[in-house]
Amino acid sequence: MAVVFEKTKYLTDKVFHYCPGCGHGIIHRLVAEVIDEMNLNGKVIGVAPVGCSVFAYDYFNCDMYEAAHGRAPAVATGVKRVVGKDTLVFTYQGDGDLASIGTAEIVHVAHRGEKISTIFVNNAIYGMTGGQMAPTTLVGQKATTCPKGRDEDWCGKPIKMAEMLSAVPSSYYIERCAVNNTANINKTKKAIAKAFRLQMEGKGFCMVEVLSPCPTNWGLAPTEAMKWLEDNMMPYYPLGVFKDKEAE
């Protein structure tokens, strides 16, 4: 029988602990497949965040770090400065991790033009700790720390990291994608592949933001969650390329 599909060797055999319908599993596979297709011969080091993907070091089948909450970009900086241009160094971070506690670290890897790539999984919520408000939680969206919905007057409007980091002079390539349907999943993979390729070409900081569902903490069934993402997140967080110095 012909082999029509094989799981990428850059994922371990460990069973994902993610909830049904969670976007993390899809995004893990895209990242691992891109690494596999690049034939890096082990020259790849990933940095996991604190969040639902805290155990990413158990899933990505390469050298891995588990960083303190929000500090993955600083950890990746230390790694990259040692291993140099021949090794792919990436961070994988949630929105609480990257857009709240780790804002200084992410802004400054962009500011230094650090030659690392960041996969930013935006699910508009603190997944791991049980659904508290994130800086990315939409106005009106309910969370356990804003039970009546996010109040703009009290907490401001959700932060747009792709747009913000594009304004940093030394960031190189920034795109926002989503994993809501097959076409967008394919686009996400292409964006990750581009970010990783640019890093290996010695270009500056690249980030792919991925809008991703958290059915569990949104209180929705997996299919409803995809629809909620399309109806609510995508209008506020438009998909597209926000910065591409290669194309300029």
């Binding site: 060797k9 850059y10 890096l40 011969n41 082990g42 020259k43 080091i45 940095v47 805290v54 155990f55 070091y57 089948n61 390469c62 050298d63 891995m64 770090y65 588990e66 960083a67 303190a68 500090r71 600083a74 950890v75 990746a76 900086t77 230390g78 790694v79 990259k80 400065r81 040692v82 291993v83 090794t87 200084a104 670290e105 802004v107 400054h108 500011h111």
Partner: protein, 359 residues
Amino acid sequence: MALTLMKGSEAIAEAAIRAGARYFFGYPITPQTEIPEYMSARMPEVGGCFLQAESEVAAINMVYGAGGTGARVITSSSSPGVSLKQEGISYCAGANVPCVIINVMRGGPGLGNIQASQGDYFQGTKGGGNGDYHLLTFAPSSVQEFIDLMMVAYDKAEYYRIPVLFLADGIIAQMMEPVELPEMVDFKIDPEKKPWACTGWQPGDDPEKRGIINSIYIDTESLAVHNDELQAMYKTVIENEQQWEEFNCEGADYIITAFGTVARIAKSAITELKAQGINVGLIRPITVWPFPYDAIKKVVAQDSVKAVLDVELNEGQMLEDVKLAIGGAKDVDFFGHCGSQMPTTDEIVAKILSMKEGK
């Protein structure tokens, strides 16, 4: 070898480079900014990396990243900056990442001042960050001793897989002293010697050797095993790594305990007291963790010893360890200043005289 007159901070930085450090991450803060300044010029000359981080939080996490590849890494700061590093230090300890951290202590709490202090003894020896961990903590009292300890710091950090902390007061960094600098060691990352490091594992390689730099052990049992392993390592550090200096202790009537540059002032006071016919000894911990409890206990247990005076440039922090060592066997008095006013020879002499008179 010839002696060179060097400023403490520069000599310390050069020693780190000669010990094999090739990655420095830090953020400017007085009174140790000369260390990053020196590193910024010197690292490129030896093919190393100097990077000014956006904060001390970032700097220590860069150390965690670089240290996890097996490289020799260093960061340096002063008290408020070292407070910010505590999160990352705890992660380095939890993930067994060898590294060297320098704290050139200044007055506190809070922003305090920029003068010399020993106010971070508690932080440096009792934790600082979260969890059950220790750092191998050196408290050098001269620039030369700092250099000599730096030359062995990485070997020890790597052997035990423990972060090493240098707890120094601002005086050491700021003073000029004639020093002898050792030869450059020839250090290269050796994946064979560091199978735990992230050095380029790929699928198909021995799964045991995949680099995983991590401090999370989510189930109770595996965290217990991890902590047991850490504690077993700390036990061997306690058994093998205690260092201290004894000065004029044999048959002394009084014993002074002090660390860092304060111990040098204590020595001057002891010489002066000797001229007045009063026999005083000094015991100076060189490692403040592991603390030389038994050595202090033994010296103080001598029949000749009437009482102990602990002198520090703080409000009495090592004092607690000294008391633990002595266990109530003899009276322990304290003399110290905060606000970074160095205790003087005259003050220490006067204090011993007043103890003698039973005041």
